[in-house]
Structure formats: C-alpha cells, structure tokens
C-alpha cells in the first residue's frame, strides 16, 4: 500500500448523493481476477453513451476538461450498496488519492482505507463550500494534523480517522501485515474459543 501524508490538489466535484458501488464500477466489470486496470471503467455508465468510449457524456463531470485532480468530492452517502472492493480499486486506479464527502457507507470506507485511498468526512456546510468553488480551486489535506483546507478561502475543518488506520496510512502498511504478526495470539485465543 502507498503511504499518504499531505496532498494539495484540484478536485473533481461529483454533486450526486447515494453514489452506490454499482455506479462506481458496474457488475459486468467484476469478472477480472486481478486488481489492475479498473480505472478506465470507473463510473462507466455515467461516463459513456451506450457503453461506447467514443461517446463520452458531456454532462458528466469526469468528461469535463476543466476539472482535474487527485481528489474526488462527492455528495452524501458515497459508496453505498455492494461490498465490492473493485469500487475502491477503480477510484485508486483512476488516480484519486482522497475522496471527500459528508457521509460514507461503512464498507466502502474500510475498502478505501485498505487500498491507500483516504476517505475524508466533512460537514454538510463545508461540503457545500467546496462545491461553491470554481474549477481552479485546490484543496489541501494534512493527514497528520487531520485537517482539510479550501486553499482560496483558507476555510478549514478537521476530520476524524481512527488512530490505527491513520498510522497505517501514514506509513503505507496494512492490516494483513499486522494480523500475520499476531499468529500466536490468535492460536492462543482459539484454544479457549473452540472448547
């Protein structure tokens, strides 16, 4: 997993609520057996007319050239629905390092963190303030300090992340490394548990 400490970037505003993982990556792309290459199908059915890459939908934000950046900003309840981690893989593969929303679905949040994508939960008001910015605006996120800032106005807000996940993210190591190191403790636990 890649580590992440600080990031300053323009952002892509996705003003849609309840974005479910079926929209992030439609089921027909789940036939893969590796984690790579999902980015090109991110939001596939919102991005293209009739599944045709030569016909991008002009009204979808990923197709609007003025917007770019490593931060995706979405309206509330992002990542609901299916538990497919492919959603996090496609967001990461597309090049996003951070997703900002006023509310994340639980499983998506976990999946994102497990893949080096930082979910940043902000207040509704702060989210609206971000959406009010123009295409050239940038956001700064400092994971160590747990602060997100709208650079043009200096408005900032602190965000929550549990201490353990934060350390993982800052250092780029993951839960599996940790669990593998706990093998003996787990075996000990089993002795009692399986009685």
């Amino acid at each position: 997993m890649q580590s992440l400490q600080k990031i300053k970037s323009r952002f892509i505003p996705l003003r849609i609520e309840n974005v479910d993982t079926d929209q992030i990556i439609p089921a027909r792309f789940l036939k893969a057996t590796t984690k790579e290459g999902f980015g090109k199908n991110l939001f596939r059915d919102w991005r293209y007319e009739n599944d045709d890459e030569t016909k991008p939908k002009a009204d979808f934000v990923l197709n609007q050239k003025q917007f770019s950046g490593e931060i995706l900003v979405a309206a509330k309840n992002f990542g609901c629905g299916s538990s497919r981690e492919h959603a996090a893989w496609s967001i990461q593969d597309y090049g996003f390092k951070v997703v900002v929303s006023s509310f994340f679905a639980d499983i998506f949040k976990n999946n994102a963190l497990n893949n080096g994508v930082l979910p940043v939960t902000v207040s509704d008001a702060f989210l609206q303030a971000i959406f009010a910015e123009g295409a050239d605006a940038t956001l700064s996120i400092d994971l160590e300090k747990q602060i997100i800032t709208i650079d043009s106005t200096g408005a900032s807000e602190s965000f929550e992340i549990n201490a353990y996940k934060k350390t993982c993210m800052l250092n780029g190591y993951d839960d599996i490394d940790y669990l593998l190191s706990m093998k003996e403790e787990i075996e000990q636990f089993e002795l009692n548990h399986n009685k």
């Binding site: 309840n18 893969a32 538990s83 593998l180």
Partner: protein
C-alpha cells in the same frame, strides 16, 4: 447492566482491541465465491503466506454463472476463467467447494443456512454485502471487501470497529397479503438508504417472532440497504426446528450442548441500545420501490412524492435524476402500470417458502403473455424441493420456465439481464441504476406482489386478489 445479543456474541470473539483502533475479531465461518476471492488468493500467495484455517471456509460459484445449461461449459470466457480460478484456488488451498453441478451449489446466502453451516452465536463473513442474511439465526454476519477476505485467509480474523446497536421492534400482526419483504422495504423507506449506517440492527417484537426462518432471512438480508453493517434476530424454537438435522448442524449430544449455549443468546431486558424504533405491523402495506435506491419505496397504492416535499437542492436534483431514469412523474400512482419483466429470485427471495407463496397465487392460472419471466431458485436444493412438492408443475402450467440456481438477474453480471428502458418487478434487493442491466428499471417487491404482476402484467395490489 444487561447486554444486547450483539454484544454477547461480539465480546466472545474479540482477540484483541488495538489501542485507538479497531478490534481484532475472530471469524468462525468464512464463505467465499468466485467474484471477490481471486485477488485475495493471489494476495496471500504474493505474501508467501498460507491459508490459516482452510477448514473454516466454504466456497460456491453463484454470481457469475448461467442459469440454463449448467452442465455445459460456461460460454462467456471471462466468466469461465473466473469460475475456473475459484476451482483451482480451492483445490490448491484445501477449501471445500460446492461448484456448478454439485448438489450443494447455490447462492452463498441461501446454501449457508440450508446446509446448517450458519449457526447461532457465530461470527460469519463473506465478500458480499448480503452476508447480513445469516444474522437471522442469531449470528453476527457481515459483508467484507476483498482485502478483508485476504485478512481472514491469513489469520481467521478481521479488523473491525465495534458498531453501535439499533433495535427495531415490530409489534402486532401483518395484513393479509403483506409478508416479510414488505416489512423491510417499509423500514428502509422510513429511515432511508443510509439511515442505519454505523449500526448493527436487531429486529425484535411479536411480528418478527411470528416469522419463519425464510422470512427472517429476507429481513436481515436487506439490512445493508439502509446502511447497517448487519442485522440480527435472536434464535428461538423456530430457529432450532429449522436447523435440526441439517447436514452441518451439530448432532446428538453436541446438539444438546450447543442448544444450551444458544438459549443464552438474547438481549437482556435491561440492555441499552444506541437507538430504537417501534413499528406497528398492521401499518405496513404491500410495498414497492419507485426510485433508484431501496429507500425510495412506498405502499403499492401510494403516489410518488412530489418535488415540494423536498427542500435540499442536491436532494431535489437526485430525486429528479431518479425519476427520469425510472421514467416516472412526481405525484403519479403506480397501480396499473404495465410491466415487461418479473424476476423472482436472489438471496432475498429465492427460498422454498417464496416459491410456495408464488405457486399458491398462480395455481391454475396463466401468466400474462406480455410478461417475460426469470424465476430462479436460490440453490440446487431449493430446485429439488420445488420438484418434490410439485410446484414446478404449477409454474409450467402457468407458462413459466424455472431456471437453475444462481444470482441471475439480481446483478447484471451473468447472462440474465433486463433490457434497457423496461420495467422489472423484482424480488431482489437493489434497484440501483443499471443493477439488472444497463438502463433496466427495477422495482423491488415481495414474492406475492411479483406473483400478482405475473398474472396481470401490471403493478397490482395483491390484496385485491386474495379473499
């Protein structure tokens, strides 16, 4: 202070609490399928690790399989490769697999309970959000992502932050024509598609106690559709009667010993919940969804909300987007609208009881000629039972073909898809844009309401067809 059933089970499974972080939670049973496991297998191999407890894993192929001609090789090459990868991985790592053609094969959330793998007091995970289904037996069951599948492979544990616990009490009796699917659609419409995020939900009350195991599973299944991590129902005599004698259920002396443990699994009278909701069962009508998330539901006799009922501008925009996708007008009623497709299946409603309900309605009648059907049992065992009870004849005489077991049109991944622009009255659990195929318009209902549409070709209030 008393404990909730959730706390009792959770606390028994905590190996360790990481300071400032999640708990390391021990997992009793891990179910896997072809779609969310390959990257976890390759991940574990890359680390040079082995599966820690392969005997606690059961695999099946369900999402990406055809529902006709299952004896033939899968024709879609990508699908075939994914299913073959599962076969190979299970062989290599010593995991029990119920693949295509195996009598135990079926949708993972149908076969777990059916085989007696799902038991009270357990922790159960699967790389699929509807793992919440298994909570109907009084277990803590929840969906996980592929990284977490890899964690369980590596250590038989996952890292989890303890969720809050909500109790939903449903008291009283249901109207004739209203079944458990309507209860859960009603709850989600009431609290919204994100209303239980951060919570585990216990369902309680006399209306829940009166339900069969199949009906309880339908409710727990859709817990995830309101954002909950999972749902749980305390086990009781109904649970034990269902489980007794199933292949993987404890036998003999061991059964009695387990039974004693299971009888401790209930929320103490003085247990505290982080949130409670009370619902009157008789308030619930047959339900249907009109929008593109399961929270957008209403009584089958109701009207689509109007714009003035929404104040938030983003919400307005989303509401308009959903209606445009669904081809509906604000304020319109749905009754009598023609439907082109009926899907009866998915881990929500593909158990024997669901087929009995439907057969009971269509018996001696013909399906409406304008309706295309996908009627798909959840498992090989359900398919067999349908035959044993002679229900297949009822369906054939009505002009309906019964498919072979699988997820089918629930997710638009295999060959069973709903054409763009057409309506599908569906007993599945998700009405997201494109869920049943690009452009497909899904309306979630109970098996009874689906049966009514089968006969009339229209959205129909099942209550008008009962006496």
């Amino acid at each position: 202070m008393g404990k909730t059933i959730f706390d009792k089970i959770w606390d028994k499974h905590v190996v360790k609490i990481i300071e400032g972080g999640p708990s390391v939670l021990y997992i009793d049973k891990h179910l896997i399928h072809e779609v969310t496991s390959p990257q976890a297998f390759s991940g574990i191999e890359k680390r040079g690790a082995k599966l820690f407890r392969p005997k606690q894993i059961v695999a099946t192929a369900d999402h990406n399989v055809p529902t006709i001609n299952q004896h033939l090789p899968i024709s879609d090459q990508l699908s075939k490769f994914q299913v073959d990868t599962l076969i190979e991985n299970c062989k290599k790592h010593g995991v029990e697999l119920y693949g295509l053609g195996h009598p135990n094969q079926g949708i993972v959330h149908v076969i777990g309970p059916e085989l007696g793998i799902t038991q009270p007091g357990m922790t159960i995970v699967c790389g699929d959000s509807h793992t919440s289904t298994h909570g109907a037996f009084g277990s803590i069951a929840f969906g996980i992502g592929t990284s977490e599948v890899e964690m369980v492979f590596a250590s038989q544990c996952v890292m989890q932050t303890k969720p809050k616990v909500m109790r939903i009490n449903i008291e009283g009796s249901l109207q004739n024509g209203v079944v458990s699917k309507d209860i859960i659609l009603y709850i989600i419409a009431k609290i919204s598609a994100s209303g239980a995020t951060g919570y585990f939900v216990e369902y309680a009350g006399s209306a829940i106690r009166a339900l069969s195991m199949e009906a309880r599973m339908t409710i727990c299944n859709m817990s995830i559709e309101m954002g909950a991590r999972g749902g749980i129902i305390a086990p009781d005599e109904t649970t034990y009667a269902y489980m007794k004698g199933r292949p993987f259920a404890p036998q003999g002396e061991n059964w009695n010993k387990k039974l004693t443990d299971w009888k401790e699994l209930y929320s103490d009278a003085d247990a505290k919940f982080d949130f409670e909701i009370n619902i009157n069962a008789s308030d619930i009508d047959p339900m249907i969804t009109y929008g593109t998330n399961p929270g957008m539901g209403l009584s089958v006799t109701g009207k689509v909300p109007t714009m003035d009922s929404i104040s938030d501008p983003t919400e307005k925009q989303n509401f308009e987007k959903a209606l445009a996708y669904m081809g509906l007008e604000a304020g319109q009623s749905l009754l009598g609208m023609p439907v082109q497709n009926v899907f009866i299946g998915s881990c929500t409603n593909s158990r024997i009881e669901d087929f009995r309900l439907v057969a009971n309605i269509i018996k001696g009648k013909q399906k409406n000629p304008s309706v295309k059907t996908l009627i798909v049992p959840g498992s090989q065992a359900v398919a067999k039972q349908i035959k044993a009870e002679g229900l297949d004849k009822v369906f054939t005489e009505a002009g309906i073909e019964i498919r072979q077991a699988g997820c089918s049109a629930c997710l638009g991944m295999n060959e069973d898809k709903i054409p763009a622009g057409e309506y599908c009255i569906s007993t599945s659990n998700r009405n997201f844009e494109g869920r049943q195929g690009a452009g497909a318009r899904t309306m979630l209902v109970s098996p009874l309401t689906a049966a009514a549409a089968l006969l009339t070709g229209k959205i129909t209030d099942i209550r008008t067809m009962l006496n």
